[in-house]
Symmetry: C2
Subunit: 258 residues, 2 copies
Amino acid sequence: MSADVTLTGVGVGPGDPELLTVKAVRLLREADLVFVPVMADRVAPTVTAGATPPGADGRAEATVRSHVAAERLRRLPFALDDRGGVTARRAAAWDDAARVVVEAIDAGARSLAFATIGDPNVYSTFGYLAQSVRALRPGVRVATVPGVTAMQELAARSGTPLCEGREPLTLLPATAGLALFADAVAGPGTVVAYKGWRRHPELLAELRRQGRLADAVLGRSLGLPGERIGPVDDTEHDLPYLSTLLVPARREHRGGKL
Amino acid sequence: MSADVTLTGVGVGPGDPELLTVKAVRLLREADLVFVPVMADRVAPTVTAGATPPGADGRAEATVRSHVAAERLRRLPFALDDRGGVTARRAAAWDDAARVVVEAIDAGARSLAFATIGDPNVYSTFGYLAQSVRALRPGVRVATVPGVTAMQELAARSGTPLCEGREPLTLLPATAGLALFADAVAGPGTVVAYKGWRRHPELLAELRRQGRLADAVLGRSLGLPGERIGPVDDTEHDLPYLSTLLVPARREHRGGKL
């Protein structure tokens, strides 16, 4: 029954409806249904045309609305917290979401897309959803379409190359711990920290300790109405959830800041 | 004279003409001229419609041909070696390329695009070109449009998430040295090595030493006709230049391989 069914995790980029790939737009338009993640406390599963899209937790929905008619969009409740790892609450949310997808398959949907901000293989919930769906319907084919990540958009918008020549690039969530961040910043490459809002003061203190505070670039609410991009303001500690901190490699040759 | 001139580095993704963003396609179509990098020994600066596109070094050209008419394409000779850093030969090539761009500006071009495989802020020559152009014409505005990188395409095509939960992700060129690669592989996250062709045996030996050889995924000639994606073949040492090696994080929870 589910052998001819495909579930595709589609990366929709950092929030700008023009920063989806041509392939992502095509798959979203061809899909029988397009699922978008929303916070678990938002219960309305269908999308009303013209209604205000949700905030930070609804960026995927806001982004795909330019490309997909509301009647083919379905909201999937998720537990989007920033603690990482597999908590019982998160696992239960994936299983609930998987059951919604399976109901759609059983009702006849053959091509299903899951729109995810950024890239479906970079800190996305899609992998968990896909595994939960396949636990229930093993025949479902799973695919992903890559998308532009927030760090790439921050690099482009701030004129800061992510990596040049022999430099490495490290991407990490602030939740991975301060030691990992400190080691990476002390190394030879660029470091990008996601989800830094709660740990922002700690990250800044470490940058100050290493003399790198002035080099850092902060993207606040990338892709959202209150978006701000620029140097780190040492006195601003009340960051939005979707913040990206970029600490460029130390560059002495030409080729640094554009 | 050059105050109203914009030079935009446009990421055209890993080689699939569908993996450009909608914005990249629009900018390439709107540009007066679209420059593509070619090896310095390929001298013909104009592109003949219908002629065979160049090989690995001409991937940007092959990719944008689906979107841009040949008469607006111009080849820019570059010294694309894998040694990294700023050699006299490379710097001279950027300066030569910059002079070609400046001639176009002086001839009246106002919007110029430079198509770069992957993302213009990830191991691209665009930053060097832009600085060389601005050294000659300081008023030129420089911008970039992000693009999907080879590691993201390899993750998507092989069903291997790049990072989940609290895992870091490290991207490095094999030219950065074996110690950096070994340290990253011993760490908690995924490691992606670019440009591994010459150092492939060393990288494989290190993976074997750390017991990670069986986990690794190799993308050979991504986006080119001879493309192959799959596990590492221990006996294959003759790799193409454009190879990407992905060593996924050790994952015990569900959410690993799709």
